[in-house]
Symmetry: C2
Subunit: 332 residues, 2 copies
Amino acid sequence: MATIYDVARRAEVSVATVSRVLNGGSVDPVLAERVTKAVAALRYRPNLVARSLRTQRTRLWAVIISDVRNPFFTDMVRGIEDVASAEGYSVVLCNSDEDEAKEADYVDVALAERMAGVILSPSSYRAAHVNSLASAGCPVVLVDRELDGVRADAVLADNEQGAHIATKHLVEQGFERIACVTGPEEYSTAAQRLSGYRTALTEAGRDADETLVRFADFREPGGHAAMQSLLDGPKRPDAVFVANNLMTIGVLRCLTERRLSVPGDVGVVGFDELPWAELVRPTITTVGQPTYEEGRVAAEALVRRIKNPNAEPTRTVLPTHLHVRESSVRGR
Amino acid sequence: MATIYDVARRAEVSVATVSRVLNGGSVDPVLAERVTKAVAALRYRPNLVARSLRTQRTRLWAVIISDVRNPFFTDMVRGIEDVASAEGYSVVLCNSDEDEAKEADYVDVALAERMAGVILSPSSYRAAHVNSLASAGCPVVLVDRELDGVRADAVLADNEQGAHIATKHLVEQGFERIACVTGPEEYSTAAQRLSGYRTALTEAGRDADETLVRFADFREPGGHAAMQSLLDGPKRPDAVFVANNLMTIGVLRCLTERRLSVPGDVGVVGFDELPWAELVRPTITTVGQPTYEEGRVAAEALVRRIKNPNAEPTRTVLPTHLHVRESSVRGR
DNA sequence: TTGTAGGCGTTATCAG
DNA sequence: CTGATAACGCCTACAA
């Protein structure tokens, strides 16, 4: 592969001049022309590795998400990519697969490769990885989930409000025993969504009944198991609020297996949109969050953080919306 | 951030010794111990940028896929990641979004960052990008789609056979006017699947009727439009073979809108599994390909290619399987 | 086994 | 405006 020296030789100028035409310094048009020709002729591409070493910075962002197969995250990535490319960064997508060890590996790579910044949806409720990024001076933005005791920018959906409107809607539809399947207690999203559910029940003058709450893992099999446990429990629910999309799928699969009708036997409201929702029968009522927007806002926060490492961390909360569909509407 | 010199100073050894304990040269246990301690104390991480510049190679693979939101590709990525991490590589996932320009950008980044290799599912039927990788000496493996006139390793599903069994199945179910919605004519997958469809019809003693064939774009809206066009065409199909998962969704949406029943009015077989297939009613008959396996095999091919750049290119074809479900079965 | 020093390809400083 | 040259952090002959 051609180096800057090859170009310089061919254009009969110094490497400094080549570098200037490449990076926009002021140079005589005649020489510039010669350089441009030589670059084309040699198919020269600046070695970004060398450039990064010299300039002590890269144009790469690591986006570490907890599940590439969850459309929620991939939609978000689109928002990130659009901002990144507008700002001249390339996005490196890393899939931690809800696995703390994989997340740690990717954080290490981001640090070792001296990436310009990291957008992280934590697969761990512990602050260790974020702290190692922060202490190395690597700009980080948290997205989707926030972590206790971490001073970092965060972009989140209004989980509490979303869960609140979802549960209130089920109350208004006349459901009596409304259950909740949420995620691991330690995750902010799980806790906030549970909290919104409880508040809505309290406001409706009902006692929150802990036998109707299950903590699962935000994944499909977990949702399935939680629903089974609810159906086999002491108090059989007639409706359920499920705190994310994948678990909603598991819940629906369980109900199908048991030949329970939705919403006749059990009403369902899920958090997050379902992919290809229009093909699922019955259609599912969901709390939608602005996923693309979350990605965009997170990326913009990262841009600001890179420009100004010492600014006060920001916390952006985006609104959610209830999409009422068939799965939660009685008597039609 | 600490450098190797800081570690050397603290451990009271030379940088060469530090480098040796880091990379496994032979060094006195006492010194090694001191180095290890210093590394920990300083939270030293080797600068991969510097290392790459010096060694002229990186431990990064670029995986450029044409659609992050298509579960087919994300499943494949899992297979790639597993092999990569076992071999000590990190995977950089790049989403070209079926956009030739984005693909070109990512190819440029991979080249400029001097990545160790690229796995590419082309978003272009032209060989330009693969050729620029090849001529720069960057190992490439094609996956899912192959390109005319390109000498590179390729890992593919047996598209022709898959389309053949799908169409034969529809014939056997007694469908009379079997249509085909395939992808852009220039893509090998689209052409091969169309070919399998035609062969099956010929074998059944039927004339291939070109008014029953549509070339769409492998995306959902394209499938929807193609189905509309078929329904409004001169010869209304009573069954359709759809050449990928996203277009199948579009086809189903169209049929739902027109209030046509599946399989009563129109039988459907799709290529690729549908995500969360069990929630879709009716359940959809599909030709499944071993997606995880495809990723694994492609990654192994890349490993071999890196070790032996001059070997003869390989072409691996993996079998497909027909999963018969409700959408194609008449009279039950 | 250990240390010294050169160079990977760039950019940036400093004279000219 | 241009060119020579010194870093950036690391690895690896080569010499000790």
